[in-house]
């Protein structure tokens, strides 16, 4: 690389160089330096006629590499640099594509493995002191009859392993156009009814240009997959998540607690029958009242667990989105505003793609440039080293 240096030459140096140039130009040959310059010039090697003829022949042939000449070994550094840069680009690109945030993609389906609830009765069931009023209230509802998860305990026979009780649920996010929100909402309710489920709560909000709806559904556990299949056909699925929770331990513990309280109640009834004094009678009745209260809570908790296993929860969210360009159907019109919106969106996507490509190629380009620069420096030093080694 040529260095920029504006430093003027010393006067004597400039004078000598000018004298050399004048001598070489034939202007003057006075002085020792001028004579030396001419003598040196006369030492110039000249190609003989044979060399000239061969060079001219090769010139006429376009200086094609001679077939008999040994091929010069080419450095593999440029190839290695290109390969390295390509590898870096590949790694960066794959990392960018597989990075966190995959939930941005539409139509994702997530499945979770069954989790286990706390197995001990103390962990699983509400105690007498902390049983919530809400729990009592829900216990008043009558759950559909389901088969007992485990056979009743027997004092003499060893208890067989209980059947698993699993609570299943799903969340479904649908996307539709604003004009179809009501139709989709009706389809959700209709599907739930068809599968002998029920709607716990629902909220449908319609606005001028859009709207949204949410549903909290319960369907029989055996109807979960058919329900999801039918609901998914109502609109485009943006995401679908399924979960399951193993509540076998809690179910068994609640049953054992109900059995224990029932046995205790029978004992108190026997004490009441055997009471001979008013004080013993009153004490037995008070004891019986407390046991009845505990037993009611335990049975409510047991029913709640049964219902959780028997019915699956489905949360449905419906969102509306403006139709994309070219997808206008029905009564929708594609206005210049829509066109502007779509154009901006296309530009945004193009810009994003270009940004990702730039991010992937930038390190590769920097690496390639660094390797190329290093290779040039090494090559230059090797060449100058060859000159120093010559004599």
């Amino acid at each position: 690389m040529r260095r920029r240096d504006r430093t003027p030459l010393p006067e004597d140096v400039a004078r000598d160089l000018a004298a050399i140039d004048a001598a070489l130009a034939g202007d003057t040959a006075d002085g020792e330096l001028a004579l030396l310059a001419i003598d040196v010039r006369d030492q110039r090697p000249r190609p003989d006629a044979g060399v000239i003829a061969r060079l001219d022949a090769r010139a006429a042939d376009g200086f094609a590499p001679q077939t008999g000449a040994p091929r010069r070994r080419r450095s593999i550094l440029p190839a290695l640099a290109a390969a390295g840069a390509l590898l870096v680009a590949l790694v960066v690109g794959v990392t960018a594509l597989n990075g966190p945030g995959d939930d941005r993609s539409g139509g994702s389906v997530a499945l979770t493995q069954p989790a286990r609830e706390p197995a001990t009765a103390r962990e699983a069931l509400p105690t007498d002191d902390n049983a919530s009023a809400g729990g009592d209230a829900t216990a008043q509802k009558v759950a559909p009859s389901v088969s007992e998860a485990a056979p009743p305990l027997s004092a003499s026979a060893p208890a067989p392993a209980p059947a698993r009780s699993v609570e299943r649920g799903a969340t479904l996010a649908l996307v539709t156009t604003p004009g179809k929100l009501d139709e989709i909402a009706s389809g959700v309710v209709r599907t739930t009814d068809d599968l002998r489920g029920y709607v716990v709560s629902s909220a449908v909000e319609s606005r001028g240009t859009g709207g949204s709806a949410t549903f909290d559904l319960r369907v029989p556990a055996a109807q979960l997959q058919p329900a999801l299949a039918r609901l998914s056909k109502l609109a485009r699925v943006r995401s679908r998540t399924e979960s399951s929770l193993d509540i076998t331990g809690a179910v068994v513990a609640s049953r054992e607690r109900v059995d224990a309280l029932s046995a205790e109640r029978r004992g108190v009834l026997r004490q009441l029958a055997a009471a001979t004094t008013p004080a013993e009678t009153e004490q037995a009745r008070e004891r019986l009242r407390i046991i009845d209260m505990r037993l009611a809570r335990a049975q409510a908790a047991r029913l709640q667990l049964r219902r959780r296993a028997a019915y699956s929860t489905i949360n449905v969210e419906i969102a509306t989105r403006r139709p994309s360009a070219g997808a206008v159907t029905g009564g929708g019109t594609w206005t210049p505003g829509d066109a502007l919106h779509d154009a901006v969106r296309v530009l945004s996507i193009a810009l994003g793609a270009a940004l990702i490509a730039f991010a992937a190629l930038l390190p590769a380009g920097l690496l390639a440039a660094a390797l190329w620069g290093t290779w040039r420096i090494v090559l230059s030093r090797r060449r100058n080293g060859a000159l120093d080694g010559a004599n």
Binding site: M1, R2, R3, R4, D5, R6, T7, P8, L9, P10, V13, A14, D16, L17, I20, D21, L24, E32, L33, L35, L36, A37, D39, V40, R41, D42, Q43, R44, P45, R46, P47, D48, V51, I52, R54, L55, D56, A57, R58, A59, A60, D61, G62, F63, A64, P65, A69, R72, R382, R383, N384, G385, A386, L387, D388, G389, A390, N391
Partner: protein, 177 residues
């Protein structure tokens, strides 16, 4: 540089800025002289001269007029080719010049012949870098600006180094019996 070339170069895509045919005709002997001085081997000089033009023809699109003259660009290629040859061969040979120049010219008087023999001997004692500077200046006929571009130096630095090389050559001539 007095030999005329009548063989036309084959038609090749030319960038439009570079008249390769004219460049070959004007620079062939100068390239050969520079390379021969550097390599001190006429046979290798011929090959490297041809290789220089081969590379230049292939890379003519890389020539940028704003970065120097065509000759400076061509001599840069010649220098790299010659240094590559030196690296490849890793051997040196005695400087061989045109046999005709070894013999005194019929027009030379005895004193002139003696002086030129002394210069030839002094040139052989110079360091390769000094010899390259002198070859580019006196054998290839480059200007100080072109010389600076070939060597990757500033023009003032190139002039200073050339001046020092000439001083060392003068001392070598004085020391030569």
């Amino acid at each position: 540089m007095t030999t005329s070339l009548t063989v036309p170069l084959p038609a090749r895509p030319i960038a439009g800025r570079l008249d390769f045919d004219a460049l070959y005709r004007s620079s062939r002997d100068d390239i050969y002289a520079y390379v021969a001085t550097l390599l001190r081997d006429p046979s290798a000089a011929e090959d490297v001269t041809a290789l220089t033009f081969e590379r230049a023809l292939r890379r003519q699109r890389s020539y940028r007029p704003g970065r120097g003259s065509e000759r400076g660009w061509l001599f840069g290629i010649a220098r790299n080719a010659a240094l590559d040859e030196l690296r490849r061969r890793r051997r040196t040979s005695a400087m061989v010049t045109d046999p005709a120049s070894d013999a005194p010219s019929p027009h030379d008087d005895a004193e002139q012949a003696l002086r030129r023999a002394g210069v030839r001997a002094a040139l052989a004692t110079l360091e390769p870098r000094d010899r390259e500077l002198i070859a580019l200046k006196f054998h290839a006929g480059l200007s100080n600006g072109e010389l600076a571009r070939v060597l990757g130096l500033s023009e003032s630095n190139a002039g200073t180094q050339l001046h020092r090389a000439m001083q060392r050559l003068r001392k070598a001539c004085d020391a030569t019996p």
